[in-house]
Amino acid sequence: MTVIVAHADPARWWHSRAVRRFLRHHLALAGIAMISLLVLACILGPFALPYDSLYIDLRARFAPPLTGHHYFGTDPLGRDLAVRLLMAGRVSLAVGFSAMLLSTLIGTLVGVTAGYRGGWVGAALMRTVDGFLSYPSIFLVLALAATLRPSPVMITVIIAVTSWMETARIVEAEVRSLREREFVQAARMVGLSRAHIMFREILPNAMGPIIVAASLAVARAILLEAYISFLGYGIQPPLPSWGNMLNGAQQYLASAPWLAIIPGAAITMAVTSFNFIGDGLRDALDVRNDHI
């Protein structure tokens, strides 16, 4: 039915349909609120708390939560768990975000190039993607982490290198369909260069799926970092991360369960928040909903 023409959107992006749809998505808003809270706490919290994350107080070992000023209790060395959790959050969130940025960058570059060029260039790139996907990535991550010196930067790179393929696939499919649209032909007609068409004409139109994939990639990167660190190949103590805090907690599960529960809850909170945001973005940016 052709009669239904929606009101022209105002040009300002914050009035746009997508933003309005996102704001109606309650889970996504809850996700945004939780993540903002977490990020703010990680950035400002350590300054507000009276302890240093490395300060050892052997008299206060295994203090349960809410003992004096140890709101989350202390660990086996008597270090304050709250400040360690927030310092670990800085590391884990930073690794998660940077890994997402890097993997999205790689995935987008590969996807746009493969999708627009097609032919043997596209085939070669996409078979590389298949190659990476067919290797069990967790072994790849562990093998790389075991041979390379594990620093936060190295962990970030390792996670990014093993998780860009999904973005590449999504972008490739999107670009391949956009390439056939007449505005791309028009761009060729007015004599724009290939790079200009790929990155300035086509890419802005593919941002929706990229943003969705990126928000889900943060969640996965945080989880992956926790996983590697838990197995002992990731961020090395004394630098705390949520993963290695869990690793340190496993032998005291019965006697001091809060050591595992608190970092575990932080990981769950971060990952679910990003997944909610991703879902909200997916619903909001799905262009097919633009016309009812």
Binding site: M1, T2, D9, A11, R181, E182, F183, A186, G191, E201
Partner: protein, 563 residues
């Protein structure tokens, strides 16, 4: 309008719509899809509902079928089908009416048919859904129906899947499905819009024949007055959800009462047997000379022996003088769009030469050709797909010239000038394409093509996606631009009526080859090839010989005088 119509006795009225109002959800451009419309479909007649896009004609059809989407509701009025009011009827009762009492054929037969079911199974399903007959009787009925709609070899057709059929054959299958339960009323929603002109003529003929044979009542929705003239007994004209005029076909076509109807009829392009008078004779150099141009599509892989080879353009030659317009007409699949894309090198050709201003551009690489691109520009078919939705109009217009080294300020100034020249206000510069209507977007597309002051303009179905009244405006604009700038044009279209309006010469393409080339007078009044004759004869609502009779409909402009 509504008060003037008395409820006729149900005996001779198959369908009666009374003061129907259908409301749209909030936030749409108007509150009602249709407002207070009334009309009757008499038994054994064909009623045409005509209007431009957005006039509410499809909503009316869907309301009658009970197929409105959830967000759109009938807020008042009555629809009587064979005397039963269906407004407010339960979904179950509606379902039993659909197919049995009233059935519908859609615009796009490919998406309306289930790709995973054979033709025979789909026809039988309609009968099975209403518990009609036994499996054996349904089968023989399905084959009878296939014969009835004129499909060749019905026994074989019964086992075919929709993708094996051509567009016209698919539409015939749709009609067979719609007829399966012998409904009293058939609703046809633009059933021929997606079809070629020759196929369109056959389908119109078929609908007319079946309607006469069975004494069925048909409600036919269209935007084309040519189709109305061809088959309608009675006409309802709709504009923006209102019924502005209704009457017998002869009455509405000959002496339209309402201004809108007159405007619509005036906008319909008519076959002009006259040749265009060339503008004042300047130098008449050849700007484009094409020789033996060829392009073959290969799909699949030679390695796995699944290769398919389709010759799209096959040995095409023509010559275009500067300042003139060459029309390329043909049905879908004739290779006319491929030809356009070859000429502008959006596609590489496989053989032949393209001499543009004396230089062969066929073999040039993209890098060698880029400096020449500003001289050859194109206007695209789809005004919605051809503008980047994420760029402002200003950027769309200036990005090309800036890439070719023009200063941004200079390009922006020229863009604003051109926008007002093509009939948009200069404020359009900072807005996004989705804020404009189809016709306005096509004007932006034209402005983009003119940014470079091109020597050759290729218009690929540039007006096909537009309503007739907008179509006439755009044709006028193109004509004006040509007179002002002396640009040469290649006008690719499937619509011979449009081609006859704007072209100095017309090349008829069929299966990748030019079968006939000549001035409009020859093509339309004295066609040499049988294919051209077939094409011309198929144009709805029109015999070339009768052109003068249409003069009183008011041609949008008389080319012989304006040039």
């Amino acid at each position: 309008m509504a008060s003037g119509i008395q409820a006729a006795s149900p005996v001779d009225v198959a369908l009666s719509v009374r003061e129907l109002t259908v409301s749209l959800p909030e936030g749409m451009e108007r509150a009602y899809a249709v407002e207070n419309i009334s009309f009757d479909l008499k038994r054994g007649q064909i009623l045409c509902i005509i209007g431009e896009s957005g006039s509410g004609k499809s909503v009316t059809a869907n309301a009658i079928m009970g197929l409105l989407p959830k967000a759109i509701r009938i807020s008042s009025g009555a629809i009587h089908l064979n005397g039963t009011n269906i407004v407010g009827l339960s979904p179950d009762k509606l379902r039993s009416l659909r197919g049995r009492v009233v059935s519908m054929i859609f615009q796009d037969p490919l998406s309306a048919l289930n790709p995973l079911m054979t033709v025979g199974a789909q026809i039988e399903e309609v009968m099975a859904a209403h518990d009609a007959g036994t499996p054996a009787s349904r089968r023989s009925r399905a084959i009878d129906l296939l014969i009835e709609v004129g499909l060749p070899d019905p026994q074989l057709m019964y086992h075919q899947y929709p993708f094996r059929l051509s567009g016209g054959q698919r539409q015939r299958v749709m009609i067979a499905m719609a007829l399966a339960l012998e409904p009293a009323i058939l609703i046809a929603d633009e059933p021929t819009t997606a079809l070629d002109v020759t196929t369109q003529a056959q389908i119109l003929q078929l609908i007319r024949d079946i309607q006469r044979r069975k004494g069925m009542s048909v409600m036919f929705i269209t935007h084309d007055f040519g189709v109305v003239a061809e088959i309608a007994d009675h006409v309802v004209v709709m504009e923006k959800g209102h019924c502005v005029e209704q009457g017998s076909a002869a009455q509405v076509l000959k002496s339209p009462g309402h201004l809108y109807t007159r405007r619509l009829i005036a906008a319909v392009p008519h076959l002009s047997g006259k040749d265009r008078v060339p503008s004042e004779a300047g130098e008449r150099a050849s700007i484009l000379k094409v020789e033996c141009l060829a392009k073959t599509y290969r799909s699949g892989s030679a390695l796995f022996r699944t290769q398919r080879i389709v010759p799209a353009v096959n040995g095409v030659s023509f010559d275009l003088t500067s300042g003139r317009t060459l029309g390329v007409v043909g049905e879908s699949g004739s290779g006319k769009s491929s030809l356009g894309r070859l000429l502008i090198k959006l596609m590489e050709c496989d053989g032949g030469s393209i001499l543009f201003e004396g230089r062969d551009i066929a073999g040039l690489s993209e890098a060698e050709f880029r400096p020449l691109r500003p001289k050859i520009q194109m206007i695209f078919q789809d005004p919605f797909a051809s503008l980047n939705p994420r760029s402002t109009v200003g950027r769309i217009l200036t990005v090309g010239p800036v890439a070719h080294g023009m200063r941004y300020s200079e390009a922006a100034e020229r863009a604003r000038e051109l926008l007002s020249h093509v009939g948009l206000d200069a404020g359009a510069f900072d807005r996004y394409p989705h804020e404009f209507s189809g016709g306005q977007r096509q004007r932006i597309g034209i402005a983009r093509a003119l940014m470079f002051k091109p020597r050759l303009l290729i218009a690929d179905e540039a007006v096909s996606a537009l309503d007739v009244s907008i179509q006439a405006q755009i044709l006028k604009l193109l004509d004006q631009i040509q007179r002002e700038t002396g640009v040469s044009m290649i006008f690719i279209t499937h619509d011979l009526r449009v081609a006859s309006q704007i072209c100095d010469e017309i090349a008829v393409m069929h299966r990748g080859q030019i079968v006939e080339c000549g001035p409009p007078s020859q093509i339309f009044l004295d066609p040499k090839s049988s294919y051209t004759r077939e094409l011309v004869a198929a144009i709805p609502g029109e015999q070339p010989a009768s052109t003068p009779e249409h003069a009183d409909f008011g041609r949008h402009h008389n080319r012989g005088e304006t040039l």
